[in-house]
Amino acid sequence: MAKVKIPDNKVQELKDICKSFNNDPGELINVLHQAQQLFGYLPAEVQEIVADEMNVSVAHVYGVVTFYSFFSMLPKGKHPISICMGTACYVRGAEKVLDEFKRRLDVKVGETTPDGKFSLSCLRCVGACGLAPVVTIGERVYGRVSPDDVKKILDEY
């Protein structure tokens, strides 16, 4: 984990988020949600500030962040790739597609490539089952993706 320096004004915004929930430890999940919206992810420094403000231990905050899959400790890539793992996509081979993305980008799910270009995540059903398996990159949606298409898709970026 590299050190992340958070600009002062963002620190203040983060503190305001905590305050808007009365610094109530019971609201930790909601605070983290908004913090993630603010920063895009939850680096250690953000968790430390939240812990301080909410008067809970950093270990506890980290425990919550790692328990829920919608929290991420890594910055999203410039082009966030999401692969649908809903039932329809799954039975039509989404996992093989995922494996191919993992292999080509050499990252695990939840990680970002070292150049910051791509990040990889899985989604629950996106409701485009007719197109299964579905992959989204940023705003764009790709349907009926097979492992062989992966290279071509990545080359577009």
């Binding site: 984990m1 250690a44 809970v56 231990s57 270990a59 506890h60």
Partner: protein, 590 residues
């Protein structure tokens, strides 16, 4: 108080409403097996996540088996604790736990003391019918504690100890499912966290997941080195617990046998940390009287209350959590470090040796002392004042290693000059003891009068946080006492907000004080053991011919020959220390 009547294994029992089946059964001599559950009255420790399900029982009329540790007794309940269904369920649960546990009992540091191992034996598990992937986590070796999380069964007792009792907040369950583990924030090593090394997580861990860093081999190496003079010091609380490691009743005092065993192990000089405790009283007590007098004379620059500083777990706690208050604790070093500093100056000189020729070993009830002796300010040119610190448990190990039949040893006496101590030095081992020892001496030094009755019963006890007023010949001194860092935190917040009117406060990190230290023989949640150790400490005090630190003839000699007087320049150099603001030091691994 509402009572409920029920039967457990056909035996009728009446209990208070709110009692769990587990406790009700215990009260009539039925020991339902449990694993994650642990409760210690008086210590604010209650861990019942209801997670392991080893304690299940059958309750008539219910479809599902009920966890006895979490289920409250109801009127008319009919409980069965060992039906075939129950036994099968218990075995299944146990086999599932064991299927993700490394089978390393033969070489595990916890073997023989492990609750998981005991349970497997009690249930007669001979085969594990489930195989699956085993979880693996990174290990962690700090100067005091080793975490081998592959052996963790997620009972969460350590979390309860660290977060609720100690309020340090180092440990939390992190990750999900198969990957979940108890760890510090960002899964960094303890070394980088705000851990105080109090070792209370180790004291309650049922398995070998958390153990002390073992330095017995370093001791053996020193003992066989012909060029080294090896000196050992033993903390007050050790003599009140070591016997337990050899099957003796808790509370058996084994001072004389311990000295004999240490001599048999080959230590050149067997000394006593109690001597250094007397020395601590001289320095800390004088510092207190000095601050008090100046305060009473209207000097606004002196701060009261004075806080004791003899517990390194507590010291690290306030350095992390209350750095703005680091000028209130006494500057006196802990007895362990005072001993080291004196051994390597005064005593080395007496032997006509260089300090490097001496190896100072300490036997402590404590894990924080392992860390303390590595602190940089406690060494001279890279040579630590205390070279190795081992626990009561490790001493027992050394004794067994050397084929010594501990129970049959004849009592022996400590060596002089650093082995002589008073009753005041002894009671350092229990909560309330340090301040009582200080009061005994401070009273006489301040009033110039003879103290008739040396026992201050108002300072004794087991409540987590206590207050007492001591009459100093007309002047009322308000004394606070806290043991367990959660209780300390409360007292400290009151001091910080100006709400308290204490003159002096004693703080010990461990529940019960050092008798309940993280390096003592495992108590497995039985508070009675701590109470018995406490009684033993007071018993040792009562039997001492001298019971006030300033009357220790060897302490008097030390000042006459070497130090001059308390708070002299040399005393400051050797016996006092300074503290660090560690707030910013919480690092994040790169």
């Amino acid at each position: 108080m509402n009572l409920v009547k029920l039967t457990i294994d056909n035996k009728p029992v009446v209990v208070e409403q709110g009692t769990t089946i587990l406790e009700a059964a215990k009260s009539i001599g039925i020991k339902i097996p449990s694993l994650c559950y642990m409760k210690m009255d008086d210590m604010n420790f209650e861990n019942k996540p209801g997670g392991c399900r080893v304690c299940v029982v059958e309750v008539e009329g219910r479809r599902n088996l009920a966890p006895a540790c979490k289920t409250e007794c109801l009127e008319g309940m009919v409980v069965k604790t060992h039906t075939v269904r129950v036994i099968n369920a218990r075995r299944t649960v146990m086999e599932l736990i064991l299927s993700d546990h490394p089978a390393e009992c033969l070489t595990c540091a916890k073997s023989g003391e492990c609750e998981l191992q005991d349970l497997a034996q009690n249930l007669g598990i001979r085969e594990i019918h489930y195989t699956g992937e085993q979880s693996h986590y990174k290990g962690d070796r700090s100067p005091a504690i080793i975490r081998e999380m592959d052996k963790c069964i997620m009972c969460r007792r350590c979390e309860t100890a660290c977060n609720e009792v100690q309020t340090v907040g180092v440990l939390s369950a992190v990750n999900r499912g198969f990957e979940s583990v108890v760890a510090p924030a960002f899964e960094m090593d303890l070394d980088h966290s705000v851990c105080t090394y109090c070792g209370q997580c180790v004291a309650v861990c049922p398995t070998g997941a958390l153990t002390e860093r073992d330095y017995t081999w370093k001791v053996i190496e020193a003992l066989v080195d012909p060029n080294k003079t090896v000196v050992v010091q033993t903390a007050p609380a050790v003599r009140a617990a070591l016997g337990e490691s050899f099957g003796m009743e808790p509370g058996t005092l084994v001072t004389g046998k311990m000295v004999a065993a240490l001599r048999k192990l080959g230590f050149d000089y067997v000394f006593d940390t109690d001597f250094a405790a007397d020395l601590t009283i001289m320095e800390e007590g004088t510092e207190f009287l000095d601050r008090l007098t100046r305060h009473l004379n209207g000097d606004k620059s002196v701060k009261l209350p004075i806080l004791t500083s003899c517990c390194p777990g507590w010291v690290k706690f306030f350095e992390h959590q209350f750095p703005e208050m680091i000028d209130i604790p006494s500057t006196a070093k802990s007895p362990q470090q005072m001993f080291g500093a004196i051994a390597k100056s005064y005593f080395a000189k007496k032997l006509d040796k260089k300090r490097e020729d001496l190896v100072v070993v300490s036997v402590m009830p404590c894990l924080a002392k392992k860390y303390e002796c590595t602190r940089e300010e406690f060494s001279v040119n890279g040579d630590a004042d205390v070279n190795v610190s081992v626990t009561t448990r490790e001493l027992a190990q050394l004794i067994r290693n050397a084929n010594i039949d501990f129970a049959s040893l004849t009592d022996e006496e400590f060596d002089q000059p650093l082995g002589e101590s008073t009753g005041a030095g002894v009671i350092f081992g229990t909560t309330g003891g340090v301040i009582e020892a200080a009061v005994r001496s401070a009273y006489e030094l301040h009033t110039g009068k003879h103290l008739e009755k040396v026992e201050f019963n108002e300072l004794r006890g087991m409540e987590g946080s206590r207050k007492a007023t001591v009459d100093f010949d007309g002047m009322k001194l308000n004394i606070g006492i806290a043991h367990g860092l959660g209780n300390a935190r409360k007292l400290l917040e009151d001091v910080k907000s100006g709400k308290s009117d204490f003159h002096a406060i004693e703080i010990m990190a461990c529940p019960g004080g050092c008798i309940g230290g993280g390096g003592q023989p495992y108590h497995h949640g039985n508070v009675d053991i701590l109470k018995k150790r406490q009684r033993a400490i007071y018993e040792e005090d009562a039997g001492k011919p001298i019971r006030k630190s300033h009357e220790n003839p060897f302490i008097q000699e030390l000042y006459k020959e070497f130090l001059g007087k308390p708070l002299s320049d040399l005393s400051h150099e050797l016996l006092h220390t300074h503290y660090f603001d560690r707030k910013k030091k919480v690092e994040i691994e790169e």
